[in-house]
Subunit: 449 residues, 2 copies
Amino acid sequence: MDFAQRAHDHNYRMDPIVRSRLDDDAYKWFMGATIYEKHPMVNVTFQLENRTKDVRLADHITLAELREQLDHAQSVTYTPGEIIHMRGQSYYGHSGLFKDSYVNRMAISKLPDYELSVDEEAGQFVLRSTGNWLDVKHWEIHFLTIVNELYARAQLRLLPKSKLDIMYARAKVRLYAKLERIVKEAPELTLSEFGTRRRHSFLWQRWVIETMRDVLGKQFVGTSNLLHAKELGVEVKGTIAHEMSMVYAALAAKDGEEAIRRSQYEVLKDVQTVLPERLRVFLPDTFGTTQFLEGFPQDLLPQAWTGYRPDSKESVEAGEEAIRFWKSKGSDPASKLLILSDGLDIDLPGEPGNGSDMIAIHKALHGRIMDTYGWGTNASNGFRGTVPGRPDLMRPISIVAKAVEAENRATVKISDNTAKARSIDPRELTRYLQIFGSQGVGLARETLV
Amino acid sequence: MDFAQRAHDHNYRMDPIVRSRLDDDAYKWFMGATIYEKHPMVNVTFQLENRTKDVRLADHITLAELREQLDHAQSVTYTPGEIIHMRGQSYYGHSGLFKDSYVNRMAISKLPDYELSVDEEAGQFVLRSTGNWLDVKHWEIHFLTIVNELYARAQLRLLPKSKLDIMYARAKVRLYAKLERIVKEAPELTLSEFGTRRRHSFLWQRWVIETMRDVLGKQFVGTSNLLHAKELGVEVKGTIAHEMSMVYAALAAKDGEEAIRRSQYEVLKDVQTVLPERLRVFLPDTFGTTQFLEGFPQDLLPQAWTGYRPDSKESVEAGEEAIRFWKSKGSDPASKLLILSDGLDIDLPGEPGNGSDMIAIHKALHGRIMDTYGWGTNASNGFRGTVPGRPDLMRPISIVAKAVEAENRATVKISDNTAKARSIDPRELTRYLQIFGSQGVGLARETLV
């Protein structure tokens, strides 16, 4: 009998969700490198939004437990060993990617204070944090993992042990079958794990990554989670996110419409001076992909960019558009990367996935462009339908944490999917829609990522 | 860090398979009650046989590890608490079933010494033990669980952790789906767990029993394993086995053919004086069911018997025969128990089982006779096809440990299935076939139980 262990187990205060500052998406650090150089003193607000309105999160999670986890996350700091690791780690084969001054700035970074309340009518939490962009941006992933895991735990509490047991067994069998289908039917499909933001739990995500590595072998190319990558010795993967273009546009807004329009390319110009070519993968859809590609300026060399990541357009359609774009710029599309990461899944016999089938997309695009896949929700939170007799449980929710303001001005995201268009200031949204139009923007579709 | 635990884990000598003398089938105790009264001084030999000849067990299991486990089993004795439990436990609602003198005799029972060698050409172990029937009979289940678990471990050693993980997950999901099908499609089907002899492992069997209990609720009526029943608070189930008729016949053999023929009914006459009605369930097939039922003597009251357990005839055919039998004896078949336990399974959509579908049998017989099911191999060792990329692994083997001699004379089993006919003395087999004929005896069919 280990009396100390027993006493500890019976008395421990809580099961912390954020165990390390590195339990974060790599793109936060990749974007930070440019922000540190170009906008080190900008004030930004990140705010949580639950797009799955019919799940009243405040009915499942108490304010007290949410606050406890947020406070705990805020108390976690980068350890000296983690800072050494981030400095020494190589990314896409590049070592010394991050300047010492940037790494030292991150070493003293703290998550700013947050504001938390409940919108009783909607049953949703109002959660936001304002601070220096370099610091506050790291709340994004922690807001998401904390809320997702607390919601998952609330549902797990409803289940007896035998149902929990079979739930995990079914989720394992299902994921394994999907990976086996990839190996068998699409031996050239490469895949990264992108599921941190929507994961069921930290330990489940680790199991998912280990299983991907074991089953996919060389077809598994990495994870976007810095901590899992570090602990499992797996490659780090990541690009940049919408927050760059959204904040850049908000900062430009005081200078008028043309400044806003141009700002989406200023992001690329800045990133190009900081990140090496292999990491230069842009996001075209913040204000609509079609206008973005059409307006791609002559003075911005597309050849300097390895590829791009469509994030809100149907994947094959997005691939075709990318192939046309690279050709129009005189580049061979087959040498350009296309990272697909929006609502992906793998269909199984008799069991269609909860997203677009990666193998079907791959078969449509492979060889014509360097397609690769970032698999998120349906891998790291693939429990839908696994609870015996309770098909309503374990449905992943679509939550996001976005940069909603920069220097006190509302940001705007339009995307290629009207369901994802957002601003906390409707006037700003209208203004942006006038600037960018809606060419190539699709109607709302059911999507989770 | 629990240093003591770590030191123990690193130094422990072996993982014992037989942890308790109660890790045994209940029928051994039920038969023992009669043997203690009627034949307390008979010498019997039990011997292992692997019917799955193409699995060369001696290539998978070393002589040393087998000996180590057998020696360990032999060193295990009934604890005072176990003896108290066996005395106090009620069986089928009967408390005080076992006489004090019988329980006291068992309390000092030890497993006799065994002889072990390897038949190098066949790749099989030659394993036998001779001793007083009351003692040696308990080797049966231990021989089987030890060899089965060592064989399972040998295969598990071939697999990396991730394949082990998915193997167990798949086996869990499959068993759960089978149980759910029973609840949904056959809400009056009742089931006991009979898988000790063929189990994958002790702990897996425990999971199977717990899951049966949780999913089937009242449809789960017990287990034949005394230890699991005790520890899980589950009902004990069991009947009598072929060894009774086989030994009785061998003891009668010196008195001629008619004595051999009559001996199969002497078993019932003796049991009837010892076990209460609810436990009187005979086994009709030791020398062929059809002749057994036809010759059922007038002086043996079939009304005194609750039912019987066909064990080697196709189940629906056996059920029809039972219905005809009870009618011919003036009993209402609907009041008689029919325990089916031979090679049972549950089919799943797109995945036929590895045995007869219990639901189909139940639909054919239910209401006409009190059908109930003893599910063995395909529950306690249902791993066939679960190992990714290795469909050859985890196939259960058909091993038995039979009473092959009594008082230096070979026993014989004929059964309803020529694949199961056996004697270590071919002359005795021929003699018995002449006595009993082969009416109603089927040709060999693929079966595991």
